[in-house]
Symmetry: C2
Subunit: 602 residues, 2 copies
């Protein structure tokens, strides 16, 4: 298939020049890797995606996952990706050597998964869920659990899932009712149902290992009484795999991402479902949330990748499709003139630049979070470690949300570029449009991410995480001010930092007065504000590196390539960053219009 | 079906109190109607929609229009709506008595169609297209054409379509190539293909009358060489209906509105397709565009109605679904407390209020345009007539665009209210989400509407139309200033009027210099600016009427009903109107970032 789904050059540029992968590889943890091996790895992933992912993207939508006689039927490529992906190190990559991993920088792993998400977002989730489940066992499980599960999971022979949501609990994990009844022999009997379990069942692996949140009998109410269990579909008994009373009750039919099954699972319908406690009792939610950052970055990554793929599809269309004519100075068009390519129309260029800035900016942001993950992990000095941990904490809800929300708008613009064809099933844009819509719901909705950002991350350690973030932004501003052509943009971003301080100075007293409902009422607006602003920073950073390379006459990338990045930054500042002022005004408008107190109003 | 798809009370309130239907009915043209008969009519339409439209909404998506052996199969309700709709006056309603119409105010007809669109947007288009086609014949056709077609069309026995778009022309009508070859006997032979023809074929009517844009052999290039023809599927010969060599070549499969066929039609494959010229040669596009205002209002109406239906569905869900708990002043939640309804969470209320303000505000705007149509038609004094014609001209692209663009965002928020369920096929929100996406493409994309608004309507008659519009807005401001509680909002809107003047003062010299490309480069941003602002006016007007009725202790509607309208206005001003400043800044930022001149940049 000749169609492009990714700007691979920009991906490499962001890794190499903007996020400084070469210097990251100097860290002890990554010393066995080098730029050449990393490029070979990414090239292999790209080639694999060209061959095994992208060609099946349309048909996984047309022939979605289907529930038949107690089993979920999914596309055969799910088997291919688990097998080949396992072999290629796409599950074990980020793990430590001692557990069978490759100690691959998370930023490189993230880039690899991004390529695959862009090629076919219905498939990589099978790998990342298996990775996440294995990570929980690795970090918190005892040696028995590790021995039984890890190598099978890292190789892709066994799959993994995360089972949090229940029919009546939704986003409210404190209401989980799945029960765990302690048994003599070191396991618990599990009883309950879980819904919205992505990749919860597929026939192409030997076994599926569910990481299940449940409440041990007698545990306290709320989130503090939740424990984490390993509950395999098949359990080992005398060296044999036998059924563990895990059943698939249904598959949710969805508007998009239809090839990636979303299942309803039953545990212990016949009182014979065994689960093994991970770590200590009642610590389940804590464990889960320690792993959640990566899962959330993964969601942002998936959404960002779809925005990228949609941008490539729109761009290709706009470069081929002729329609209409350029306006002449009279305001008229000359019908005798040949129709022009639609990419010459300013309105089409505006839509494409919007797509570009959101797609590439999101990618820059996603890789930045992955870099923080690497630095937090690989740095030895505890102060430095803490700094990157905090940066990761505060940026994660934004990395999850910005690509999901802005990405959906970017894809919608992309569909619009195609006009009526964009709405038609024969064109790929409508599938991206449907697929991307789930990302602002996955792993905590935008509303929940926003409460996390404002209610936890901004407040944590007396605002220390936010302080670290503002320092990072400030560093970029200082560097940009050294380049005269960037001074106006550096100044704008400097003003925006002051605006953040103004907004938080307004909000903090409300939190201190204990009026949390009001404090968090516009958390989602705060998220939009911060997301827009952080993207402005990401773009200034990209432009700064491009400008430096242009001045240094670095020929790694072409002059038009560097110029296009600077142009995109200018576009972003003009069309998007400017909106942060209005968002700040909304947040600082203390009227309680969305609080219940005043009346029903609907 | 118990589910609500419309706030019928608000519809009646907007007609009665906000847009003053009683005084409209005083006009001579409408003197046979009164409020009672209008209410009975709307009640009958609502009852019809409850029974024959809404119950089939989901299944028309699940079993979409399908092309089989040269024919398009559509749901049987298409037949019901044509037959019953014809009988109920839903086609003939707005026509003059002399042609067989009811001289129904267009605002009432629009309200009726809105109810039906909200109930099932896959169906009413069959009626409105027939109406539009009949209107073209009525206005521009000779008596033979009128006699042959009108009564059959107004009764719904024959359907009608509009055939503009061609495979290679898209939005660029000047490139139309369908040929019309003059014959001796008063007709032309038609030869060509048309795509994206909504309701282009269905088996439940005797005949379908296509209004086709074509180029008479030897006609000049461009839009000035286009003529309009009546091309029936079956033509009358000796009192018999015989085939007219119109064939259905395909049906476009789409992401949404799948029950409303979008066809690809062939004319004259066997050189035996006859078309009858409507009006004069080479005037086709002019005729078409004289009817286009109503078609564009119809598109805005459809989108607004979907936003309304989605709002009702989200609201019902939020009133039933419990999840999570209110935050206490400690910032913690008490897990022993019962979960609350999600409508109590500020973020959910924010999303619902956003839906409400967009849905109800769009309805207010749509009805306003319909009222201008009525006043332009029914007023006798030529100056007054001109004023309303101009108001209709300038507001139409906004009425087409705002509900389509903002409506899609409202529906997306509505989907988000349902969390994961919103994405699932079992819930109705995802269908609204898919269906509404076509509206910003239909009948001229948002880009085209925006160029129409800024490039034609703002400039027309030296800015006279804009002047009329600003005067109207100013009248509302003056009235609002008389109510102390509304003064702050009246002042804000007053400032926005100045902002419009500032923006146009900035843009006009660019147009005068002949730099049309730059002048129109951000036309879409100008559209968003004007749309947001006009909605602010619509909401201030609604709040003004509500406040008056509250003060007058008018009990027609309840106190909480009036209060909810005032609250919605405040919400709209805080969350949406505020964004106009940034939009104005974007427009007044003269940098040509989207012009081609500087380089490729992608």
């Amino acid at each position: 298939m000749a169609a492009q789904y990714i700007d691979f050059l920009t991906l490499k540029y962001l890794l190499d020049k903007v996020h400084g992968l070469p210097s990251l590889l100097q860290l002890e943890r990554y010393q066995d890797h080098n730029m050449e091996s990393m490029e070979l790895f990414l090239d292999a992933v790209k080639e694999f995606s060209d061959r095994e992912l992208f060609p099946f993207f349309r048909e996984m939508d047309q022939f979605p996952a289907e529930f038949r006689e107690g089993e979920v039927m999914v596309h055969k490529q799910v088997g291919v990706i688990m097998k080949k992906g396992g072999e290629m190190g796409l599950i074990c990559g980020p793990f430590d050597y001692e557990i069978g991993g490759l100690q691959l920088p998370f930023i490189v792993h993230t880039a690899a998964m991004y390529v695959m998400d862009a090629a076919n977002n219905h498939l990589p989730g099978h790998l990342t869920l298996t990775l996440g489940a294995a990570e929980l066992i690795t970090h918190f499980g005892n040696s028995d659990l590790k021995e039984t599960y890890i190598s099978k999971m890292l190789s892709g022979e066994w799959g993994g899932t995360m089972c949090l949501t229940e029919p009546d609990a939704g986003s409210s994990l404190s209401d989980i009712t799945t029960k765990a009844i302690p048994q003599q022999k070191g396991y618990h009997l599990i009883k309950g149902q879980k819904i919205f379990i992505s990749g919860g069942d597929y026939p192409y692996v030997e076994n599926i290992v569910h990481l299940v949140l449940a409440r041990i009998e007698g545990a306290p109410a709320g989130t503090k009484g939740i424990s984490l269990f390993v509950v395999p579909k098949l359990r080992l008994e005398g060296g044999e795999l036998v059924k563990n009373d895990v059943s698939t009750l249904a598959d949710f039919e969805k508007m998009g991402q239809r090839g990636f099954a979303t299942t309803h699972l039953g545990f212990g319908d016949h009182n014979n479902c065994r689960g093994w406690l991970v770590g200590e009792a009642h610590q389940g939610l804590k464990y889960m949330f320690q792993m959640m950052n990566d899962a959330r970055i993964g969601v942002g990554r998936g959404a960002g990748a779809i925005a990228m793929a949609a941008y490539q599809a729109s761009l290709a269309y706009a470069r081929e499709r002729t329609q209409g004519r350029k306006l002449r100075s009279s305001g008229k068009k000359d019908p005798m003139e040949k129709p022009c390519l639609i990419i010459e129309h300013p309105d089409v260029r505006r839509m494409l630049l919007l797509q570009k800035t959101i797609a590439e900016g999101s990618l820059g942001l996603i890789l930045l979070a992955a870099k923080y993950h690497d630095l937090a992990l690989a740095k030895k000095d505890s102060e430095t470690k803490k700094k990157y941990e905090y940066l990761l904490e505060i940026i994660t809800p934004i990395v999850k949300t910005y690509p999901s929300e802005a990405g959906a708008r970017a894809v919608s613009n992309g569909l619009q570029v195609l006009g009526g064809y964009g709405f038609c099933s024969d064109y790929i844009l409508q599938q991206y449009y449907r697929d991307i819509r789930i990302y602002s719901i996955y792993e905590g909705t935008t509303g929940i991410q926003s409460q996390d950002l404002l209610g936890r991350k901004v407040l944590m350690d007396n605002g220390k995480a936010l302080e670290f973030l503002l320092n990072e932004i400030h560093t970029t501003i200082t560097e940009a001010i050294a380049m005269d052509s960037l001074i106006p943009y550096a100044k704008i971003l400097g003003d925006k930092i002051k605006l953040i301080q103004e907004v938080t100075a307004y909000l903090m007293p409300i939190a201190k007065q204990g009026d949390y409902e009001r404090f968090l009422a516009d958390a989602t607006v705060f998220m939009e504000f911060m997301g827009n602003l952080v993207l402005g920073w990401v773009w200034l950073d990209i432009a700064l590196k491009a400008e430096s390379d242009l001045r240094a006459k670095d020929k790694t990338y072409s002059t038009p390539f560097y110029q296009s990045k600077i142009h995109a930054m200018k576009f972003y500042f003009k069309y998007k960053l400017i909106k942060t002022n209005a968002l700040a005004d909304i947040i600082m408008h203390k009227d309680g219009l969305t609080l219940k107190a005043g009346g029903d109003y609907f």
